[in-house]
Symmetry: D2
Subunit: 458 residues, 4 copies
């Protein structure tokens, strides 16, 4: 890279999963508007056609007059090519196919186990993890070999397990995991401020939060706006909308949108424990005892959140394939719009172009005192030149921390099981998941089917 | 006390709960046959009549020609009297009445929560704890004031919480908790040896076990007899009797005995996790997710264990009152028989009359590495003159330790709630219990009723 | 306090030690130039005349036309008056007199123990701690009673022990300790940048550092300026000036200034361990084995740092008394100049007027993973509205952490000894100090004399 | 092996270092009198002649009519041969030669560093460790390959580092370290009992002790004989003999015996800290600041203990070589006498032939709560069939634990340095040793010479 006082050019970014139809375009968009950075984006994907398409789309964008930051997009055919000389590595892959995910999410329904997302906890999260861990083992080894000093940004789920695998395989890696779920909760606090206090148009970034927990089961121990403590405001808000739910200003509601919710689970957790849970309801539900929110379809409906069927993902994938074709052919124009992700800001901070405080996933060095050392946890961090320092997220009461700790313990077992191929250990993690309330016989049957199809679909 | 090389006379034992009809008689019996010890047993009870009756019964026993060890029994009217000058303190009280316990055990049934015992975990265990903690606070303060150097043996449930309260109130106390559930599991291993290997008449004490966990949710990480590893033998045994259950040689079976079980839960836990759980099935069930063993009456029946109705306890109490009257009047003769408890052996070891290794409940100083420091845990200990040293119980896998840790965290909350009167914290502990799978509304209603009746019965 | 979007007025600050001649004037100066804040400064001091003089000096300053921020200064005659209603509490006291300090610093010289400062570690630091702990016990109790929700900024030495005492006595206190020694090391890095790289006029605040350790024995695990890693630059600098020392641009050098040094100890520690020690050489020397830097006067001279004789402090005190008189009488004009302290910035951040990252002393919640939980440690923290969150300082190797840990353990013993009056424990802390390399007999004699004069001077 | 109810025959023991002239004969002697065991002792040594000589000596002993336990001794020429099929492995090697040890012990004297033993801590202990770690790496790998399930008894110094290396290289190893220094302290307590109380002829085994710390810097937190607390007796004893020292009934005293001491260091540590140090004075001195006991020859003389010159070891070696020749030739008869070591008892306990409580060195699982997890520590353990469970040794005050912790941290650095060849880390461990009070320049010079001669002697 070439560095001046205010800019970095010839920056080398390797993008593993660079054939992505959606997330990659968001990153292109964010980079296109960031004047301080330029360089080369090396797109690597096992789907080389998809990576090639993104190469075309990216370079067309660069060629556009409106684009201030000039990036060169290249498709790379091996990890070695993509990684050698990279300053940053971005990992955002889909492990397996939606056919695999169909089993992850829907097979357990035969046993009365409903999953709203199925990519983090629960039987689906477990199987996705077992499928993904070997891939991350390969990636970690390649980073060790080809760019051990690069900063690695992971966006792949299951976030905790993927990040933990990177560190287990290559302990000196400079990796962290990113997730926007906390941003969503900050936005909800913006809405609470408007609804309860009449304060409008507050920016998400101005909601200051203290973050602790594990990804998708993250909690805020403090929240403020300027000199206002948001806890009492959120309390009023949660009580006001506890029964009805709060669906906000956005178009659509939980009934006709597979990703929405009415925040009732967050409110319920707040009224139970007195802390703000900071992830979408669809994720939170999967970390709690099955009887609370995912007992049966009626219960789910009463909590006003959606299960995302994999059939929808398949349809959506087709739309995105079409979109890609149109972008490549020029039939459809690339539209630059801010994603709200902070990856570009993080890279700038790591380059010494401005400090940043934000939430990330990192091995526990004490920032989450109720979890074991080295478990991957989510908290704020201070990002500065070539350094990320975790910020203590404060404490929760034992009622909450023991729920988190149980999942964290399960995640450790899963990573171990995934790296060693220890099927018995994987089964114990399965048994221990709060969504798996099955007899030993049913549990074995369900697990066995899923385990045997974890990377193959008949 | 007066010490010779082989004996101790004039030993002073304070017995809190000394009006007990049953447990006290067992202790009298054990002492009557132990020639190395003699002295005074000071019986203190809020039911003074009961203590007085036991004074009579005890002194009659001492007067009997058959009794080799001569103990003087006295009823004391205050803790100060009972404790001043005591070498040992035994605490074995019934906190509250069976009317209170009726609410503990049966009120939650209205919400579909079944409890087999209701004195340790679950809603019943919580309420019993809240009732008992202030009593133990009083006792701990009295011990601090009147006999700070005495050794204190607690037998009262909830064991962990009672023992933890003693240490929280008087950190220098020399207390430990005793429970015979592990002995029961040693006896089951004796039966497994006979059943699988044809080795008969093994003594319970010759089954060597490594113990870890918390009281009533205790686990064996190793078990041996002479040079035989009992794990593979137990595995064969558990698989053989998994479906049918094992009811052993004792008269009666689980259908007509409120305290029996067919060990199916222990077998199920073994097949799930690969470790031997070392408590009765009725206790173990209460520590697991409600759906596993206590989902409904049919499920309970299928697991072949019994719920103990408080009505039975009431009837049984009446029988014991009658028995007491008969013993006092001489209508019925006191029968000396070994109880199998180790309290007397422990006292001898503490007096320097022979080292002993056995399982006890003590604050964690590292013997249970997966639980926090100072939490009360169960493990083996080496008892020698004026000292108890915990013995490391080894490790379990995280699937099991995270279940234990969740209960341990709950117990810490409960002790805090009980000592400070923090009702919110008590409610959070309630919500966090794996048996409480209720909606927030139902949980509040159930909790509120129980909390308001915790020490009073309308 | 009264809050607008950009300002806070009617802020109430209690200043314990408000009769200070020097430090108080610096704070007045910093406040006088800070337009966003105004309110009342309540000056409390056991020397009421001194507090009264500062009331006069402060109010004269406020009356001056140049002063933009209008503060009202009042002398308070009791802690209750000073604290009731306070938003912030500043503690900056001199515990005891310079006669006491004379014994702290110079009595051990009879036994060959030299101390450069004598207020933190060593025999002097211990005695000063024992003198100060009861005062901080009183202050902590008063804060608990009169302003439990106020933020408390401690500047008194021994910093770690004072702050730890506040938390031991009132665990819910919102206190932290401030020290500018790290700033001095940042300034040295500024000089290294100029000397080695020719980069001039860098601001101290632009040197970004990761901080870990305990006060006055603090270490930087990373240091950068923009995109430059300062570690290799400091290495070159340390090697260049290892023999000669570096005395910088300031007037005077270590020979004629009791507070200067030539940084040789910092360079030596860097070459020994590879980490940047971040306190003045006079402090660092006192934490190391006596034979390294404080063996005898010749050794001290060779390391080019000064012992500060208490006689100098006495003379200097007299000068400051005269200065105070002149300021009160108007003979001398109050001169506003920036102190470089960050107390005012910290208060603004806590009021929600701008986030701040800086180093502070706080109970360990995991930010310093090699020290026990709750020990008071120094690291960076993120200060935001009504919250301080510690930032992980990274790790050092065990050669350094075990030196720090030994002092931290000693500090825990000293606080315990000070709060309980346990003289034996104080003596063990004395024996354990690396500067105390005495025979048991000499150690006893030296300790006994000092202990008996800790709060009284014959 | 072949097992009957009371005996084990055909037991296979591999003895690494089996050419030992002295220690091996002791083991032969202990085995010869133990009727319950018999089998094969496989002698492996890099000095094959020495192993062959012991084969002859052992088999002659077995042939003797007096010998009740019949062992077959065989010399093995490779680790593979020695280990394959072994039930137990004994490791007792001399790493390097006495020429190496001469540098370890005497080279630092040029810098004023005196070492009484030079095999555990100090510059000598460090160099011996660096020499030994690669050997133990080889041994651990061989055990992993050829007898992973065998129990491994290590007797080699530096004990802690050797045992830690075994576990780092092969974490599942079933190894522990044995040392008789605690026995020596038990014997001193026997002498105290006689001297102070007039109680004679107490057996060493009847002194019950609670053990904590690290090998050669081990402490007793409790000691009793029957019902007597030995702490007050030892206090009287230590005070009585503090000045004069106590040299006991044995022939010889510290002046004419390189291994004796007058216990003055143990008494001094007791008077300083109030705890009984449980190793010989010659070892204890090396763990303390150099100025205390090893400052110069005069100081050493005043403490009445001896430095063991390596020249003596060389002479003694020659005597033992002659002794070996005489034993082989039959010129001298093998004399059976009890060694007082417990290795044979430990093997019996592990075979299920009788439980044993004794002190051993094991990875910390919580038994020494003030040291990190996995550091090798010394405490009591309960040895039963195929299991060793650590027994909590209780706590010391921080003045003592921080001294121990500093050495434990150094040991971790040394093992890391030895396994990775990290010379810088080895140097930092050198700098951090309390005996190394050198300037950076001297330290470098001394270290460099020793490091370069660690495995070679010019």
């Amino acid at each position: 890279m070439i560095r001046t006082d205010k800019t970095v050019s010839d920056l080398q970014i390797a993008y593993i999963g660079g054939g992505s139809k959606g997330w990659a375009w968001g990153l292109m968009s964010d980079l296109a508007t960031e004047k301080q950075l330029s360089g080369q984006m090396r797109l690597y994907d096992i789907d080389q056609d998809a990576a090639k398409a993104n190469e075309t789309i990216g370079n067309q964008l660069t060629a556009s007059d409106d684009t201030l930051a000039k990036w060169k997009y290249t498709m790379e055919t091996s990890l070695q090519e993509a990684l050698t000389g990279a300053d940053f590595v971005i990992i955002s892959i889909l492990p397996g196919t939606f056919d695999h995910m169909e089993i992850d999410v829907h097979h357990p329904e035969k046993y009365g186990i409903y999953q709203s997302v199925g990519d983090t906890a629960g039987p689906g999260g477990l199987m996705r993890a077992l499928r993904t861990i070997p891939m991350f083992e390969t990636i970690a080894k390649a980073i060790k070999d080809y760019c051990p000093d690069a900063w690695v940004l992971n966006y792949t789920n299951p976030m905790t397990i993927c990040t933990r695998t990177l560190y287990k395989v290559f302990p000196e890696i400079k990796a962290f995991g990113n997730c926007h779920e906390v941003f969503g909760t900050q936005k909800l606090l913006v809405e609470a401020l408007a609804d309860i206090k009449g304060i409008e148009d507050v920016a998400r970034e101005d909601i200051k939060v203290s973050v602790t927990g594990i990804n998708h089961f993250t909690w805020l121990t403090a929240a403020s706006y300027k000199d206002m403590d948001l806890y009492p405001i959120y309390k009023e808000f949660a009580e006001k909308y506890y029964e009805s739910g709060f669906e906000g200003k956005k178009s659509g509601n939980w009934l006709n949108d597979f990703f929405s919710s009415a925040q009732r689970i967050k409110f319920d957790l707040f009224l139970r424990y007195g802390y703000i849970a900071a992830a979408g309801d669809r994720h939170l539900a999967e970390f709690c005892p099955s009887k609370w929110y995912l007992k049966d379809l009626e219960t789910i409906k009463s909590w006003k959140f959606s299960l995302t069927p994999v059939s929808w993902r398949k349809e959506n994938e087709q739309e995105r394939i079409n979109k890609s074709k149109q972008l490549v052919s020029g039939e459809s124009a690339f539209e630059i719009k801010e994603t709200g992700e902070e990856g570009v800001l993080q890279m700038k901070a790591l380059l010494g172009l401005g400090d940043l405080v934000t939430n990330v996933n990192l091995p526990n060095q004490g920032q989450v005192p109720y979890l074991p050392s080295n478990a991957v946890v989510e908290s704020n961090a201070l990002i500065r030149h070539n350094s990320i320092s975790s910020i203590s997220g404060g404490t929760l009461n034992p009622a909450v921390t023991s729920m988190i700790a149980k999942h964290s313990a399960n995640q450790e077992m899963i990573v171990e099981a995934g790296l060693t191929g220890n099927r018995d250990l994987a089964f114990q993690a399965f048994l221990n998941d709060p969504l798996v309330n099955l007899s030993l016989e049913d549990a074995k049957e369900c697990f066995d089917y899923m385990y045997e199809h974890v990377s193959s679909v008949d």
